[in-house]
């Protein structure tokens, strides 16, 4: 048995001759969360479609839980949970009915809908129709739906996009719990701060290609600019000194800046994933 729950090797897909995904490859281990980051149109959704068996890769292979996708799609999907960016819930059914229906599709005989609703703080809204739910509540119900079959692999597409802080925190908490349980999680998002908080590793994708895959920490240390920002008072004037840590003689400059005046604050600042993405793609996520 491979340690990787998801193994993607050189997959490509083109729509009418336009390459949406080009020789993409990555792995996600059991218990690991991989942030799949890129701007809109980068190829994330097409990759997800191939991972869920809705599109067949034109080149390359996908192996999930040691089974080839899509030829073993039905078996894989029985152990997979997918949350889409669209809130594709049955609006005229209650939250509990939605979960019970999907439980039947998965053949889960001992489904505990209230337990699932409790995990996303919706247990007291179980009998309300989804049409009455806010965006955040719908998204939380989507996450509860993902957990119905206690999946070994989770594919989460923009799970906290546009949500209020309470809903975002609830969802982040569930994602962390699932990773601790041992599920492999692929998190597609264009929210770099979210990915930084939740991901063990991140893969940047742009124009259908994976640009780099590594831990957020390594990426920031390797490709980012670290700085120290020192604020001090000199004859009643506030003086701010910014010292790049990667420059030669940085230690000495910091010592001098601290000793020279009345020290007020010292801040260290590391690069953001957004800056790293710009470093690789030559453009930001919104460009």
């Amino acid at each position: 048995m491979s340690s990787a729950a998801i193994e993607v090797d050189g997959i490509s897909y083109a729509y009418d001759g336009r390459r949406a995904v080009d020789e993409v490859g990555f792995t996600v281990d059991r218990g690991e969360t991989l942030g799949f980051l890129g701007p809109n149109g980068a190829g994330k959704s097409t990759t997800i479609k191939m991972l869920t068996g809705r599109l067949r890769p034109q080149t390359g292979t996908i192996t999930i839980l040691d089974m080839p996708m899509p030829s073993q799609a039905s078996k894989i999907q029985g152990r997979m949970g997918v949350a889409f960016e669209e809130k594709n819930l049955y609006a005229n059914m209650t939250a509990r009915e939605n979960l019970v229906f999907f439980g039947r599709l998965f053949g889960v005989s001992d489904l505990d809908p209230d337990g699932l609703l409790d995990r996303v703080d919706l247990v007291d809204r179980g009998d309300d129709r989804v049409a009455e739910f806010s965006k955040g509540m719908k998204q939380r119900l989507m996450i509860a739906r993902v957990l119905i079959n206690t999946p070994d692999v989770l594919l989460l597409d923009e799970p906290t996009d546009g949500l209020d802080p309470v809903s975002s925190q609830a969802i982040r908490h569930v994602i962390q719990e699932e990773a601790e349980r041992g599920a492999a999680i692929l998190l597609t998002t264009h929210d770099m701060a979210e990915a930084d908080k939740l991901s063990d590793r991140v893969a940047f994708i742009d124009e259908g290609r994976v640009l780099v895959t590594d831990t957020p920490e390594n990426l920031k240390l390797t490709y980012g600019n670290r700085t120290v920002r020192i604020r001090s008072r000199d004859d009643g004037q506030i003086v701010e000194t910014v010292i790049p840590l990667d420059e030669q003689g940085a230690d000495e400059r910091i010592r001098q800046a601290v000793a020279a005046h009345e020290l007020l604050t010292i801040h260290t600042q590391e690069a953001t994933l957004e800056e790293i993405f710009i470093h690789f793609a030559g453009r930001g996520l919104d460009a």
Binding site: G78, E86, L89, Y90, F101, R104, L105
Partner: protein, 358 residues
């Protein structure tokens, strides 16, 4: 491979959803009640008597000679105006007004004119028949006989003799009512499918162990079962099951299957309720033509015979109104079966393509 567990789960969910769609729940129940009520409100007898009015010289003589003839009801009017008014009011099929100089003119061989009043909507063939009858009446009034020896006639009736036992219009309306009801079910299923596509809930279903074939099988099963149940209920309520109930049940089952195929087609192409409505109307109108044509006597035009609902309509009319058996209805049932296969194949392909490209 279709999973019965998954198909049943989808069907249960769909039934719950349809029950919560108040619009379709109401029109389904109201439609059933309204069509049954309409059927029973229609007259159950056929008037086979021709009502004719006459005025002028010889009227009493004619009334005396022809008054008790089967199928003819002669009424004598005192004035031309009264006769004309009765025709205008629709009380008579025609009015024959003999002029005062009719007898002398006929006796002298001089030309004379008999006025025949007919309602504006009388068809040309009926007018011709009335003109022929007037000529015969004129001979009767003039006391002459036709200058020919008419050949003896032997009337050979093909099929059961329905003189005095005509099938009432309402009995011929059964297929039309059935099609109306089936089309409502078609709209209901098409709307449900379009809703699943629009909200992309179908995508959520298809990333579970459910396959596209399970989804299609569930929609087919639900659509056919609902349409069949409802149309059978209506046919029971309007007493359509005569001596050949199995023939009628088969025709109704095929009809239900046919409209389910149409629903898959409409549901996969329409994006919202208005588009579904428009598409449904486009599909309903040609489906209703054979049922409408069945209301009138005579043979249907060739182009009507190639419409998908023609076979189904003929089978329903023959089985419910005339008690026709398997032998007589087989060609129509087979034609419907062929149409079912064609429409269903196109519907399934369209929906499969739509679902898989979401």
């Amino acid at each position: 491979m279709i999973s019965l567990r998954i198909v049943w789960a989808i069907v249960r969910k769909d039934i719950a959803q349809m029950g919560r769609d108040r619009f379709f729940a109401y029109i389904t129940v109201l439609g059933l009640v309204a069509y049954v009520a309409l059927f029973w409100a229609l007259p159950s007898t056929v008037n086979e008597t021709l009502k004719l009015g006459i005025h002028g010289v010889g009227s009493d003589l004619l009334a005396g000679q022809l008054g008790d003839q089967q199928g003819l009801d002669l009424a004598v009017f005192d004035t031309s105006d009264a006769l004309e008014q009765a025709v205008t009011n629709g009380d008579l099929a025609a009015g024959v007004d003999f002029p005062d100089d009719f007898l002398p003119s006929v006796a002298l061989g001089e030309p004379t004119t008999v006025n025949v009043y007919v309602p504006a909507d009388t068809s040309p063939d009926i007018r011709t028949a009335i003109s022929g009858m007037v000529r015969e009446l004129a001979f009767l009034v003039a006391g002459s006989t036709l200058p020919i020896s008419p050949p003896s006639e032997e009337e050979i009736i093909l099929g059961p003799d329905r003189a005095g036992d005509q099938v009432p219009l309402k009995d011929k309306m059964r297929p039309l009512l059935a099609i109306f009801l089936l089309m409502m079910e078609m709209m209901s299923l098409a709307s449900l499918i379009a809703q699943e596509i629009r909200s992309k809930t179908v995508t959520a279903v298809l990333v579970t162990p459910a396959r596209t074939s399970d989804f299609l099988a569930a929609k087919t099963l639900l659509g056919t079962a609902l349409a069949f149940t409802e149309v059978v209920l209506m046919m029971v309520a309007i007493k359509s099951f005569g001596s050949e109930p199995l023939v009628l049940l088969t025709a109704l089952l095929l009809a239900s299957f046919l409209v389910t195929g149409l629903a898959l087609l409409a549901g996969s192409t329409g994006r919202d309720f208005i588009e579904i409505l428009l598409l449904s109307v486009l599909l309903i109108v040609p489906m209703m033509i054979p049922a409408g044509a069945a209301l009138f006597p005579g043979t249907a035009a060739t182009w009507i015979k190639v419409l998908p609902s023609y076979g189904m309509t003929e089978a329903i009319v023959r089985a419910s109104a005339y008690g026709a058996g398997w032998a007589e209805t087989a060609p129509y049932l087979l034609a419907t079966l062929a149409w079912c296969a064609a429409v269903f194949a196109v519907g399934v392909l369209m929906l499969k393509r739509k679902v898989e490209t979401l």
